[in-house]
Symmetry: C2
């Protein structure tokens, strides 16, 4: 098996990008990553596109071929989908082909264009990430699924809404330094607690936004300073009600255990993480499932500063899904972009001052139906 | 790189299956392939789902996780999409991971449920396989894109509608022996020429139907009698009007050349083929692009019996997309199922009497935006 490295990374701004469509977003991120990699398009052996809602939100499938067409580069092209975990899964799939030595350099582009359809249609499209017949059909949209997880968490761990709000406050603090973030500004705990209620106990500022955007990485078997030390996927029940716990995502636990084993490291070796904060509750659960905190203790890591940018394990320095935005197919790739930029000193105003040996990306599909954990190593 | 074998294959009936939904189709095909492989579900290391229109036709994405849930087997699960080439591409993607030695046995399920939405919505959903903004938006649906190819072919090669009709007559002849075919009955050239016109020169019986169905294979690094000798993908312009020729699909030519090279064989070594006859014209073009006939000569192979089931290179013994049916995500997997069943003597009434050394499957996405060529070897 060949070792796999990151040769370049790039992304568009995330936000409501009225001047851009799905194809222009894909092309822009691809060009940015290619420029960063200093590879020519002719050196790219295959294209992987991560996207969930091309059909639901943009009336377009077959995005591998579409991107190959726009780039004028007719190599094998793949579209990989696992709802909001599409990005992480595409990186994993590309990593397989590179590991096998079948391709030398590949371009992975995650993209989503969500703002061209109505809010109702976005909610309906996103519900297809859960079990449509058993959940969405009965009104359980994504905010309500995560609200049930939040309610259970608050009950089980004697937590309150301020524990949830702390996640959003931190991620907006981080995102305020990211010019590509959809909401590059700070918010207060009061803002979160007073925001309009979406699905009790989750208010508007507990929820990641509807976003347009794309992110891309060039993966290569040629040695660079950033290696993919582990790439692991697991699944769990797509239906929340069939899950063994409402306050833990078993797919994350399995993927994380496999990833730590593959990288030959343990939790304390991780000095930077991007985790899937689609809702505030999701980051608390992620920090616990990934082993950073014991069940019920995740919010302590926020309160004591551990996961802030000057802490020992900064989490979501990009701003996370909450402040940076969540174009669903792009998110898992954007997480890798953030790790790459922080490790290579390309993170601009949000550059961390410390050396990072291992960074972790955690990407979830649906309410936990898929989880992908990627560990990158500074070599 | 590990060698990859087919350990088992199965499929549902194709047709308008009013009693079945997308999930029950996937599960039925998976169970059929697992039974054929004599492997237990616990021996499956990953799941690959090929599907195009989960979102458009069935209101469900995240099908990898959904199938893992229905099987109660929470391994890595992938959904691969390249329009009607999703099935071939999923086999290719699974083959990458097996080649790398990352998984030992994987389940690949192709599925589509198309009959639960209106005909107009099917046409609209399918148009997302082409360039929605540059083609479908201006009324160029799939029958009309292929009709333009047919018109160009007839002009260039002095062919007529009977040359096209011969494809449908042959494939219904073959399909009449396949109990899983959507239309297991013969038709005459008169039937084809007198059928309602869909998009001139393509009549109703020049077109593959709207279908429900699923097909599955178990791929393994454990030696069996059927090896995947080559799996190659290429892309071409997703837009017909940007293609170098209207009478040839360059993606097919590139994928075929790479596949013959990878298998170390040439065209005469192929003794059985399943090719992508989404429209009658598509099979003529495929036979030429794959090297079985010179440009303009494909229909001679039908007239002289070469590609009939008692000829030297039977083509579409399953009945092809035309008679067996075309649940788009399932088609590329079904082609591999047919090759496997013919090679292992499991093809029932349609079993060929000869030994098959090499079989070829040719799967196209859109009007030629993606092509996948798989060569299987009887070892």
């Amino acid at each position: 098996m060949k070792k796999v490295f990151i040769a370049g990374a790039g992304m568009t701004k995330f936000g409501e990008l009225w001047e851009q469509d799905l194809r222009s977003l894909m092309v822009a991120a691809a060009a940015d990553a290619l420029e960063s990699s200093r590879l020519g398009i002719d050196e790219i052996d295959a294209i992987y596109v991560a996207n969930m809602g091309g059909s639901s939100f943009a009336g377009q499938d077959h995005l591998g071929s579409l991107l190959a067409t726009e780039l004028g580069h007719y190599v094998p092209a793949y579209r990989i989908e696992a709802a909001c975990a599409s990005g992480g899964l595409a990186v994993n799939t590309a990593w397989h082909a590179l590991s096998a030595g079948l391709y030398r350099n590949v371009l992975v582009v995650g993209a989503e264009k969500m703002s061209d359809v109505s809010g109702g249609d976005v909610t309906k499209g996103l519900a297809r990430a859960a079990d449509d017949e058993y959940e969405a059909y009965f009104g359980a949209t994504f905010p309500s699924l995560y609200a049930m997880m939040a309610r259970a968490y608050m009950h089980e761990h004697n937590a309150d809404r301020s524990d949830l709000a702390a996640v959003s406050v931190k991620n907006h603090n981080h995102g305020s330094l990211n010019p590509k973030a959809q909401f590059p500004r700070e918010i207060t705990q009061e803002d979160v607690l007073n925001a309009a209620m979406v699905s009790d106990p989750l208010g508007l500022l507990d929820c990641s936004p509807v976003s347009d955007g794309a992110a891309a990485v060039v993966l290569s078997t040629k040695v660079t300073s950033v290696r993919i030390a582990a790439s692991q996927v697991s699944t769990g029940s797509i239906r929340l009600h069939d899950r063994p716990s409402l306050t833990s995502i078993d797919a994350t636990k399995r993927a994380a255990a496999a990833a730590y084993k593959q990288a030959g490291i343990s939790v304390p070796d991780i000095s930077l993480a991007e985790v899937h904060d689609c809702f505030s509750i999701a980051e608390l659960i992620a920090l616990e499932d990934l082993g950073f905190a014991k069940p019920g203790d995740a919010s302590k890591l926020i309160k004591d500063g551990t996961v802030y940018r000057d802490g020992t394990v900064p989490v979501n320095t990009s701003g996370g899904l909450k402040a940076c935005g969540h174009p669903v197919g792009a998110t898992g790739v954007k997480q890798i972009v953030e790790l790459y930029e922080q490790i290579t000193g390309a993170a601009g105003k949000r550059q961390l001052k410390k050396d990072i040996s291992f960074g972790l990306a955690h990407n979830v599909g649906g309410s936990g139906g898929t989880a992908v954990v990627t560990i990158v190593e500074h070599v």
